[in-house]
């Protein structure tokens, strides 16, 4: 079992209580059950993240989770780490401040597609461009869950939402392509069904130097699913099962997602380049030298 591999000794001891879920050590138990709907995928995404944390070997006192606003944005409130629930769209620049102020921290941004890509899109591309040292985990449920299921920048054309009653009439972003074009050094996409690979990807992202980006395709049965013939989380998982195709190393340009059809998954970018902090220390050297 994976938790055997747990590295933080503090955690192992905490974990001995038999009636306690092995992930509870990293959760704010007193806040469970969480607010997410039955069949919502955010909890699965969080599970994979927690698992990755338990395996990552980092000092968990130095791991910080930053979220924006949204259903996914509530993640920060459930992890038992230093965690920040910032303003809508601003998780990434907040994380930038944290990381640059204290480079010892491992900063993880965990938020939704609307938060990170709609209102927060500019910060995403600029942080990726600068290659700021952080991991961004984006739960893409194709809509704004928290506010009642509106159309968003990842909603597939034709999808019904509360503000696209005649079908979404916008082209969606292909997030891996956008992240890659902006400069991210690690870019992956998984569905909430492919939990082991997702966990592994998060682990890789956590260990990556620079800006890593993991998109998680996730069910929102209550809103997105309801209007688009996938009324349960299970139905959405089944769709991922039927249509999920793993294509590691594919040019992310080819990884568009439509209303039906394939969902391409995999690790698309995994490169090395100097990080913002690398450059900062160069500047420091120059200023004193």
């Amino acid at each position: 079992m994976s938790s055997k591999q747990t590295v933080n000794p503090k955690l192992e001891t905490q974990n001995s209580k038999p009636d306690r879920h092995p992930m509870d050590e990293l959760l704010r138990e007193d806040r469970l059950p969480h607010i997410w709907c039955s069949g919502c995928g955010i909890g699965v995404a969080l599970t994979c993240f927690i698992k990755a944390l338990q395996k990552c070997g980092l000092d968990l006192d130095k791991v910080v989770v930053v979220s924006g606003i949204g259903c996914t944005g509530r993640v920060a409130g459930y992890v038992n780490l230093d965690s920040f629930h910032t303003t809508h769209g601003r998780a990434i620049p907040f994380a930038t401040g944290l990381k640059l102020a204290n480079p010892e921290l491992k900063v993880v941004v965990f938020s939704g597609d609307g938060d990170l890509i709609a209102i927060g899109g500019n910060h995403l591309i600029h942080a990726a461009r600068r290659n700021v040292n952080m991991t961004v985990i984006c739960v893409n449920n194709f809509n704004y869950g928290m506010t009642g299921g509106q159309v968003g920048p990842t909603t597939p054309p034709g999808a019904i939402t509360s503000t696209s009653p005649y079908g979404c009439f916008e082209h969606p972003f292909n997030l891996p392509y956008l992240a890659a074009a902006s400069g991210a050094v690690y870019v992956a996409r998984w569905t909430t069904l492919h939990v082991r690979r997702l966990e592994k990807s998060i682990l890789e992202a956590l260990h990556k130097r620079g800006f890593s980006f993991v998109e998680i395709i996730s069910p929102c049965p209550t809103l997105y699913g309801r209007w688009n013939k996938q009324r349960t989380g299970l139905a959405q998982m089944q769709y991922y099962h039927d249509q999920g195709v793993i294509r590691h190393g594919l040019d992310p340009k080819e990884a568009d997602i439509g209303l039906h059809g394939e969902i391409i998954e995999g690790v698309f970018v995994h490169i090395e380049k100097p990080t913002f902090l690398d450059f900062c220390s160069d500047a420091l050297a120059k200023s004193v030298g």
Partner: protein
């Protein structure tokens, strides 16, 4: 005062909010009274206790929140635990008997039980339990007229489901009458 205050509660997904809307609409549009309808949710995204409040009055409703609700309709245990204490002395408490365990009632309360969800299931659609409840409510109280309520049901439910819902309404109404 001619002010009637009604609270309907249950969990998200039971159609509680729609019920409140229908009562308000029945009063305001069809009975030509004044009605104010408000709603409240818990912190959960969906699910969890939710509540619909309707105030019906002959005069304009100034204070828009419940002050002293006289009717409380409850369709879940969680909601019962949370809201039962808000019912006023002498008030009417209606519960879905299969979903709510009332235990010992505190104070002077008139309790009516109705197997709304079960009756709805008999119609093949559990989802119309809220409308069964409305039929029952229309039968046992006079806050709105039965005709107004029926009309409001008809014009408020999703297109294509009118017939089913009116049957549900009738079922609740009949259940109450039969119990009389």
């Amino acid at each position: 005062m001619s002010r009637a205050e009604i609270r309907l509660t249950g969990f998200g997904g039971q159609g509680i909010i729609l019920s409140g809307y229908i009562i308000g609409k029945a009063a305001a549009i069809h009975d030509k009274k004044q009605a104010t309808f408000t709603q409240s949710y818990g912190p959960e995204s969906r699910g969890g206790a939710c509540s619909a409040q309707v105030i019906i009055s002959d005069e304009p409703v100034s204070y828009p929140h419940l002050i002293d609700p006289s009717i409380l309709v409850v369709m879940s245990q969680e909601a019962y635990n949370k809201y039962a204490p808000t019912l006023r002395d002498g008030g009417l408490l209606i519960v879905d008997e299969d979903l709510v365990e009332t235990g010992d009632l505190a104070g002077d309360v008139r309790l009516l039980s109705v197997p709304a969800t079960r009756l709805a299931e008999e119609l093949g659609r559990k989802i119309v339990a809220n409308i069964v409840m409305l039929g029952f409510l229309a039968a046992v109280t006079d806050v709105v007229s039965v005709e107004a309520m029926r009309e409001a049901v008809r014009t408020s439910v999703p297109k294509g489901t009118e017939e089913l819902n009116l049957r549900a309404f009738g079922k609740g109404y009949e259940y109450a009458r039969a119990a009389d």
